[in-house]
Structure formats: structure tokens, C-alpha cells
């Protein structure tokens, strides 16, 4: 067992700032034994007594089980199977399902979530809701089951007495976080209202030591209803108080909405200092890093981005193992690495390739993920076009996606043409292959150009900047269309009806398919 812990610690390269609860749960996971897991999680939970200790325990619980690592996921399934009455196992399962649901869905607008992705999203949420309710029924101290339920309940068919659930949660976990989580259930975008949120605050916040309805209301309004007419008053009330425990909400208000005085240099300095100090073992490192990047960009401090990146790197490395398919995090790592490989001493081409494949496990619904993959994965035997076809198909701005794709193809055409011009023996196999490749690229360009023209409606009804001659990719379209008209290029595309050229389905990419086949399902 000790050896396992050691191997686990080496694998995860645990960051300097550690958390005892997390270490204990991680060590239990590393044994791979459901018995140990059940015993160890129960024992660890028993050591958390005060609301603050409980908060840390449940955050650690979330970090450990809210993970896409298939072996962790399989272990959760086995745990639930071996201990069907275990409230912890049910909670862990609900947590992992809720996370996976969101990965299926992505962060796009509701109407962009479609087909199998939408079905998978709803199915995972429904199972998460059922399990969370069962967990609470089995043991009403399962704080994270309430939290998960509050997140997934809106799409669920489960019937639950919400008022009682909130009261129960506040009783077992008298911590501001409990009421705050409850208010988010009444988010106006989910059919709730400011009135309902304030009612929850008035009913429950006063019973929590050190908390009050005003602070709770400020939390609810700033987080969930930033544009309500009453929010400004709530914000003023918040900033007028100086209890240190309100700093987190103040930081959030500053970060998301600029606070009361957006340009004030002292507030900016304060926010940076607060953010600097807020990285620890239970912080979501991707989110923290994103905040650093945003702060650096908005307040023109390029080096804060770098400073944060250097500090967050070991945390991200640990997450690569714990949560390898969370594309929200990985795409940021990819972007930073592509921006400057100099910063990533340990990052080589293979890391980038592995990351790009990992994003495709859950991110296939997202056009941008296909675009990044098209930049990293293709090789001579694995041409970029299928990736780009999926990029266009899954992207919500077709004009942009088509113009970008045309640009990429123009570049490939140009380099192939240059290679061809250097060929000395035209009959050599290399030359023949190059010519075939050139012809193929020409037809891909022709198809893309025709679809771009159709998407832009000749620039009459789509007046976006991707449908303008100012755009260097769009500007190459007229020449291609002219070549099609004169029959110089790809007659089968020139004569095809427009609808048959559309990028309207997912194209299988052999390398990606092969990779996905090796992953297998984690959660049963």
C-alpha cells in the first residue's frame, strides 16, 4: 500500500501546497480497492467536524471524483456496485456524472447543443440527480450530493422537496457555501428569480453563524443576476463592509463586473494580491490561470500571466493525470504551449499531440477543438482535411470556419505547388504522389470556396468580415471560382449541386477513431 501511495504521488507530482483530506482520498483511490475506498472515505469524513473542515473535505472529495480519468471512473463504478448502499459511493458517482454531462454539453449557447451530445448530457444529468437524491436519503450528511443535485435538478424529472433539502443541508453544513449553492438553483436563466433567491437568503442565512441575509443577497445577485436593477445596491452594500471573508465575493465582483470603481489602481493592486494568494491545492488550477490571464490582459500586466503560469504548472501537470479529458483545461494548455514553446521546457511535440487527442474524447461537439486538432495532429499519412471538415461542421460560425479552412488549404496548395516545381524527374513515384496530392487539394479548395460563396450569399446577405474582400482568405475565392467556371480545376466540384458539397456530417478520422477505441468507457 505504501508503494502504491508512493507511485501515485510520483505519478501525480503533487504540488507543494497539499491538503490532508485530498491526500487521504487520493491514496485510497490509488489502492484500487473499493473496500479501502469505502473505509478510508468514511474515516476521513469523520475527522471533519467544523463547517470549515467539512468544506475542505467536500472540496477535496469533488476534486478527487469529479474526474475524467478512466481508471478513477471505473473504480467509482465498481465502488457503487460493490457497496450499493454506500452514500459516499452514490455521491461520488453523481459528482462524476454531473461533470461528464457538462463536458458532453460544452459551454456553447443552448441552441448549439444538439443530437447525441444533448442526449448524453441529459442522460448523465438525470442519473446524477437520481443518485444524489438516493445518497441524501441514505445519509443526509452527504453535502456534495445536495450541491450536485442543486446543479442538475433543473433538467431532471425527479420530484424533490427543495425547501426541505435546503433546510437539511443548512442543518448538517452550517456554512455560507450551503445557502449560496441553494440560491444558484434559482438563477433567473433557469427560470428562477431574484425574489426567490432573496427569500432563500432571508430564510436560511441568519441561521448560519457569521453569515447574514445581506451578504447572501449580494452573493446571489452578483453571481446570478448581475444586471438586475437591484444589483448595484447589493454591490454597494458589499463593498461598504470590510470583513475579510467577503473578499472572495469582492474579488469575484471585481473580476466579473469591474467592482464599483473599475479603473481604480488600488483596487486593481488589491485584486492582484488577492488572486496571487488564492492558489492552493483545492483551487481549480485552470480557472485560476484563466483569471490570471484575464487580469493580465485587462490591466496590461503581461508578466502576471507568466508569473501565474509558472506557479500553476505543477498543479496542471497533476491535473493531466487526475482529469486527462477535461478539454476546458487542456485547450488552454495547448494554446499557451503553441503561443510560446519556450515557456514549456517539458513540452514536446508528443505532449501537444497527446493533449490534442485528449480534447477529442469529450470535445468532438466543439468546432474550435477540431480546429486546434487540425493544427497539431495531421501528418503526411493523416491529412488535415477531415479534421477541417469536422471543424466546419461543428462550428457555429460557418463563414469564419469556411474562410479559415480555405486559408489553410490555400497554404497547402501553395507548398505542394512549390514542391512540385522542384521535382526533377516528373515520372518518379514522389512526383506522381505530389501531383495527386495537388489535385486533391485543388478539389478541396474548390469545394470550400463554393461553400463559402454560398454561406456569404455573394456578400449581399451575410455582411460579416469573413465575407469581405478585406479578408485575405475570402479574397482568394473569386479566382478559384473563375478557375472552376473555365473548367481548369476540378470539374466534379464545378458541376456538383451546392447541397451535395455541404459540410453537414461528422467525418471519421482514422487516427482519432483508433485513439478513442483505446479509451473505453469509464463510468458504467
Amino acid at each position: 500500500m505504501r508503494l502504491a501511495v508512493l507511485i501515485f504521488a510520483i505519478l501525480f507530482g503533487l504540488p507543494a501546497v497539499a491538503n490532508t483530506y485530498l491526500e487521504r482520498i487520493d491514496a485510497a483511490i490509488a489502492t484500487g480497492s473499493t473496500e479501502t475506498l469505502e473505509a478510508e472515505v468514511t474515516a476521513t469524513h469523520a475527522t471533519a467536524v467544523t463547517p470549515e473542515e467539512l468544506e475542505d473535505f467536500w472540496l477535496a472529495f469533488d476534486l478527487a471524483f469529479d474526474a475524467t480519468n478512466p481508471s478513477t471512473q471505473r473504480l467509482i463504478s465498481e465502488w457503487h456496485e460493490a457497496h450499493p448502499d454506500s452514500a459516499f459511493a452514490m455521491t461520488a458517482m453523481a459528482t462524476a456524472l454531473s461533470k461528464r454531462a457538462f463536458l458532453h454539453r460544452g459551454a456553447g449557447y443552448g441552441h448549439t447543443v444538439k443530437g447525441a451530445f444533448l442526449e448524453a448530457y441529459l442522460a448523465d444529468r438525470e442519473r446524477a440527480a437520481t443518485l444524489a437524491l438516493q445518497a441524501i436519503q441514505a445519509d443526509d450528511r452527504m453535502v456534495w450530493a445536495y450541491f450536485t443535485l442543486f446543479v442538475v435538478v433543473q433538467t431532471s424529472a425527479q420530484q424533490a422537496d427543495i425547501d426541505k433539502l435546503i433546510s437539511d443541508l443548512v442543518r448538517v453544513f452550517p456554512h455560507p457555501r450551503a445557502v449560496n449553492a441553494a440560491t444558484s438553483m434559482f438563477h433567473p436563466a433557469w427560470g428562477g428569480s431574484v425574489e426567490q433567491m432573496l427569500e432563500v437568503c432571508a430564510a436560511h442565512a441568519p441561521s448560519i453563524p457569521g453569515y447574514d441575509a445581506e451578504a447572501c443577497g449580494a452573493y446571489a445577485m452578483i453571481r446570478n443576476a448581475p444586471n438586475d436593477r437591484r444589483t448595484h445596491a447589493a454591490r454597494e452594500a458589499l463593498w461598504a463592509r470590510d470583513e475579510p471573508w467577503l473578499d472572495d465575493l469582492k474579488f469575484h465582483d471585481f473580476y466579473e463586473h469591474g467592482g464599483l470603481d473599475p479603473g481604480n489602481p488600488q483596487t486593481i493592486d488589491w485584486a492582484i494580491e488577492y488572486h496571487r494568494a488564492s492558489l492552493d491545492a483545492l483551487t481549480d488550477p485552470a480557472k485560476w490561470w484563466h483569471q490570471a490571464t484575464q487580469l493580465a490582459f485587462r490591466y496590461q500586466m503581461p508578466l502576471y500571466d507568466l508569473e501565474a503560469e509558472q506557479r500553476v504548472m505543477p498543479f496542471l501537470r497533476a491535473m493531466d493525470q487526475r482529469d486527462p479529458y477535461d478539454y476546458y483545461r487542456i485547450r488552454r494548455q495547448i494554446e499557451a504551449a503553441m503561443l510560446s514553446k519556450r515557456r514549456y521546457d517539458g513540452v514536446f511535440e508528443e505532449d501537444l499531440q497527446a493533449w490534442a487527442l485528449n480534447t477529442l474524447v469529450y470535445g468532438r461537439h466543439d468546432g474550435e477543438i477540431w480546429r486546434r486538432a487540425s493544427e497539431i495532429l495531421p501528418s503526411r499519412s493523416d491529412p488535415p482535411f477531415p479534421y477541417l471538415e469536422n471543424f466546419v461542421y461543428r462550428h457555429t460560425s460557418k463563414d469564419y470556419a469556411l474562410a479559415y479552412t480555405l486559408g489553410r488549404l490555400n497554404w497547402i496548395e501553395q507548398t505542394t505547388r512549390e514542391d512540385l516545381s522542384k521535382v526533377e524527374t516528373p515520372q518518379s513515384p514522389d512526383a506522381v504522389a505530389l501531383r495527386a496530392r495537388h489535385e486533391q487539394v485543388q478539389c478541396q479548395r474548390a469545394r470550400t470556396a463554393r461553400m463559402l460563396q454560398a454561406e456569404c450569399g455573394f456578400g449581399f446577405f451575410n455582411r460579416s468580415r469573413y465575407c469581405s474582400l478585406d479578408n485575405r482568405n475570402y479574397a482568394t475565392m473569386p479566382q478559384i471560382l473563375q478557375a472552376l467556371d473555365t473548367g481548369e480545376m476540378c470539374p466534379e466540384i464545378a458541376n456538383a449541386p451546392t447541397h451535395s458539397l455541404a459540410f453537414d456530417k461528422m467525418v471519421p478520422v482514422p487516427r482519432v477513431e483508433a485513439f478513442l477505441a483505446t479509451i473505453g468507457e469509464g463510468l458504467e
Partner: protein
């Protein structure tokens, strides 16, 4: 007999024509000097009289181009006394269309000076709202001028200029329409195009639409020339530039295309330029410099021609002509920061010669003038470093230079190098003390340089030993670590290395604070 008569008759007609051309030249007379003299006189009545007379004369002729060119040029001034005269003229008759136009021109000019060189880093210190106000006011005065008298040609151009700075979508067409009714000319169509600034969406389509609609209305202009104008005056993508290039080559002999032929000449081309092309280009450029040509722009092109196009000795030749041209220019427009920056750059660095105290005092005064509008320019702070009196002043100037460029890596590298070269240039007995005084600021820039390198691509030359200053950075960092010098700088977190605040410069700040435009 009849033949002799006819020959004599023709000879007589020709000589009459020549005499007429020589003696009565009202439509060709350039009133620039007269207007400038009147502006300098301080007397608004004289100014009114001179301008009105010149305008009346121009109105009587076929072509008003010469008058409006002089009028615009005379009022594109930042000279406070002249602007005070203009203000007095406006007060005397607030409705006078010529005075309204003149103030509109002056305000657009001041606003443009305040906005600075559009090439500078977009994150650099931006001008205050008060300065952008000049541009809005200019547009407002120009429309008042047109309302009072629709023949105020320069007022239309001011409107186009003001629209180009406006955040609201530009709509130059109605003004161009009215303008072409008064005087159908290519210059007006091109001015209207400038209203669509670089951040206009689908800009090239808008310029093409202007060409299709308005070019046919101008004699000796056509849509093809106009489309070429549109493409060259915007940053159109390569396929369009290729088409424009083909047109220029096809119609190379036509005067309308000479400007674009020269533009193409200034571009890089594989295999270099032929001797004939070089000669043509240099000759064309030589002829460009007159009193209306901006000598800073002119010399900028000369550096290209003498530099990478490789016309030997051309930069020196152009420099000899540019110096007096810039001095002359600065008499009329003393706060033109870009002009002063080039003047100082050449006078102190590239063609620098030892200076007498009086010359130094003169250059310092120029630098202060330039700073009124040039605070956001890294280049201007940078040249100011050569005028620093003390190590402390040098430190302040170079830190402010880096600040003005928001700690961009090139600004940091150049400033660090300049610290070093200014120390080595100091008299021998003062060198050690200076080096000691500047050590910590230099270490800070070295740390900043080092950190910024991590944001650069792997193959960035600026972050390799191929770059001379890169090793200077390494030496300073090694010294910091080994000798443990400057512990405060060594302890700073990365983000705090950036120069966040502009350091005060008492003398300069007092000079800038005392500046007034002269306008009401």
C-alpha cells in the same frame, strides 16, 4: 502672302499667350506666404482681408486647388500665437465660413497631433479626451462652415478626416456628392475614402462602392484608377494587390498611376531593383520635396531608397535637404512631435556631431515642445535620453520610454542598450559613478528583458546571443545573483517588474503644463 500673314499671326497669338501667362497669373498665384504673414501679424482684420482677397481671386478662376491647398496648409499649425490670431478672427465674425473652415482645419490638425503616430503600439499611453475633443469640434465647425457657404472645399475634407477618427460608422457619401457638384476632382474622391478608417468592417467593399458611384463623375478619372487608389490606400489582401499591381504595370505611363508605381518601387522584390528602376525611383523622390510635402514622410522614404533599395549615398543627400526643410516646417508647426522626433533622431544619433551648449539648449527646447503631444511615443522619449543632464534624469527618461511602450520587449532591450552606451560615452572621470548610480535600474530592465523573452517564440532573435544586448542582460543577471547587488530588484515578483508608473520630470512637466493651444 497669306502664308506670311498666317505665320505672323500665329507668332503673335503665341506671344500674347505667353505674355498673358507671365503677367496675369491670379489663378496660379500661391497665397501661402501672404496668409502665413497675416497670421503672424497678430491682427485679425489683416488676416480676414488677405484670406478674403485670395479667396475672391481664386473664385474668379477655373481652379481653386492652389488656394485651398495653401489655405489648408497655413492653418495646419500648432503655433500658439497664430492660433490666437485665428481665434480673434473667429470672434470678430463667428459666422464667417472661411474662419469657421480655418478653425476646423486647425482643430483637426491639433487632434491628429494628439492622437500621435498611428503606427505606435496600440496599447501605448493614449491621449486624453480633451484632445480627442478637437476632432469632434473640427467636424462640427466644418459642417457649420458648409451650411454657411457650400463652396468651402476644405471643410468637406475636414469632415472626412473627423469621420475617420470617429467611433461611429463613417458616412462620407453625401458630402462627397455635394463636393463633386462644386468641383469634380480625384483628390476629393480619395479624401472621402479616408473617412473609412482601418477598423471599418468590409472597408474595401465600401471603397469600391465609392469608386463605382463617383469615379465616373470626375473627368480624367475612371473606375479603374479609383479601384487602384482604393486598394493601395487600404491594407487590402494580396489577391487584390496583385490585381492592382497588374493595372499599374499595364498603365504605367499614365500620370495617374505614377504615385502607385513609386509605391510599388518602395516594396521589397525578389532579385532586387534594376539600375533603371533605382534611377527612376530616386529621381521621382527627389522631385517630391516642396513646401507642401511633409519632410518627415519624405525622409522616411529616402531611408528606404538609400537603405534596402540600395541607391548609394541617397540617405546622405536626402538628409542634407531634409534638415532645412524640417527646420522651416517647425517654424510653422512647432509642436509637430513626429517631425521633431526625426529631427532629433538624425541630429543626435544617426548623423550626430558634437554639439555646442547653445545647440543642446535648442534641441532640448524642441524636445520639450515635442513632448506636448508626443508623450505616448517611445521613440521620442528614447531620443530625449541623449539630452539627459544627470544619471537620474537618464533613468527617468528611459523608464518613461519603457512605460510609454507598455514594457514591450523591444523598448526594454533598446533602453537597456542605451543605458550602456550612454555610460560608455560619459567622460572618463564620471563613468564609474554613473555606472554605479544606474546599476539597479539596469538590473531591473535586464530582469524584465529576461522575463519577456519567455513570452517570445523559440527562434526570436531578440532572445538569442545573436542579439548584442541579450548578453548584456546575461551579464547583469549574473552580477545580480553572484554579487547579490540590488536585492530589492531581485526580490520583485515577475509581474511587478513592469514599469507601471510614469516617473515625474519636473522641468518637462512644468513646460507641458504651461502649454496652451491659443484657440478659445
Amino acid at each position: 502672302m497669306s502664308r506670311i500673314f498666317s505665320t505672323a499671326c500665329i507668332a503673335r497669338t503665341i506671344s500674347i499667350a505667353i505674355i498673358a501667362m507671365l503677367s496675369s497669373t491670379p489663378s496660379w498665384a500661391d497665397p501661402l506666404d501672404d496668409i502665413r504673414t497675416a497670421l503672424s501679424s497678430g491682427d485679425p482684420a489683416t488676416l480676414d482681408q488677405v484670406v478674403s482677397a485670395a479667396y475672391a481671386e481664386a473664385e474668379g478662376s477655373v481652379d481653386t486647388t492652389v488656394f485651398w491647398r495653401a489655405f489648408r496648409h497655413a492653418f495646419e499649425t500648432s503655433h500658439p500665437d497664430r492660433l490666437a490670431t485665428l481665434a480673434a478672427w473667429r470672434r470678430a465674425d463667428p459666422e464667417a465660413p472661411l474662419a469657421l473652415t480655418a478653425e476646423a482645419i486647425a482643430r483637426l490638425h491639433l487632434g491628429t497631433l494628439a492622437l500621435g503616430n498611428p503606427d505606435v503600439n496600440i496599447w501605448a499611453v493614449r491621449p486624453s479626451i480633451a484632445e480627442a475633443f478637437h476632432i469632434h469640434k473640427a467636424g462640427f465647425l466644418a459642417s457649420q462652415a458648409i451650411e454657411a457657404d457650400r463652396r468651402m472645399i476644405s471643410a468637406y475634407h475636414v469632415i472626412f478626416g473627423a469621420q475617420s477618427h470617429d467611433a461611429a460608422p463613417s458616412k462620407p457619401e453625401p458630402f462627397l456628392d455635394a463636393l463633386l457638384e462644386i468641383e469634380p476632382a480625384r483628390v476629393h474622391v480619395r479624401a472621402a475614402m479616408t473617412a473609412y478608417n482601418t477598423w471599418t468592417d468590409r472597408r474595401i467593399e465600401k471603397l469600391f462602392a465609392i469608386c463605382e458611384t463617383y469615379a465616373p463623375r470626375v473627368p480624367t478619372y475612371d473606375t479603374e484608377i479609383c479601384l487602384t487608389d482604393a486598394i493601395y490606400s487600404s491594407d487590402a489582401p494580396e489577391p487584390l494587390r496583385e490585381a492592382a499591381r497588374a493595372t499599374v504595370t499595364k498603365r504605367a505611363d499614365e500620370e495617374a498611376f505614377t504615385e502607385w508605381r513609386f509605391h510599388e518601387f518602395l516594396q521589397w522584390r525578389a532579385g532586387g531593383h534594376s539600375d533603371a528602376e533605382r534611377e527612376w525611383g530616386a529621381n521621382y523622390h527627389r522631385r517630391q520635396l516642396d513646401r507642401y510635402k511633409n519632410p518627415a514622410d519624405w525622409f522616411h522614404d529616402a531611408q528606404y531608397i538609400g537603405g534596402f533599395i540600395g541607391v548609394e549615398g541617397y540617405v546622405e543627400e536626402a538628409h542634407a535637404r531634409a534638415v532645412p526643410a524640417r527646420e522651416e516646417w517647425l517654424i510653422h508647426d512647432p509642436y509637430d512631435s513626429r517631425m521633431i522626433e526625426q529631427h532629433l533622431q538624425n541630429g543626435l544619433f544617426r548623423f550626430g556631431t558634437p554639439k555646442t551648449p547653445a545647440e543642446i539648449a535648442h534641441l532640448r527646447r524642441l524636445w520639450q515642445q515635442a513632448m506636448v503631444y508626443g508623450e505616448g511615443s517611445f521613440g521620442l522619449w528614447f531620443v530625449g535620453a541623449a539630452l539627459a543632464d544627470t544619471p537620474d534624469e537618464l533613468h527617468r527618461i528611459l523608464f518613461n520610454a519603457v512605460h510609454s511602450a507598455t514594457s514591450d520587449i523591444y523598448s526594454v532591450m533598446q533602453s537597456l542598450a542605451l543605458f550602456d552606451s550612454q555610460i560608455s560615452r560619459a567622460p572618463e572621470d564620471a563613468r564609474d559613478a554613473m555606472a554605479a548610480a544606474l546599476k539597479c535600474p539596469m538590473v531591473r530592465l535586464a530582469r524584465l528583458y529576461d522575463a519577456l523573452c519567455m513570452t517570445q517564440p523559440n527562434d526570436a532573435q531578440i532572445c538569442s546571443s545573436k542579439h548584442p544586448s541579450y548578453d548584456l542582460r546575461g551579464e547583469l543577471l549574473a552580477e545580480m545573483e553572484e554579487a547579490q547587488i540590488c536585492p530589492e530588484v531581485a526580490a520583485l515578483p515577475l509581474a511587478d517588474l513592469v514599469i507601471k508608473e510614469r516617473l515625474p520630470m519636473p522641468k518637462l512637466d512644468a513646460f507641458v503644463a504651461a502649454y496652451e493651444t491659443g484657440l478659445d
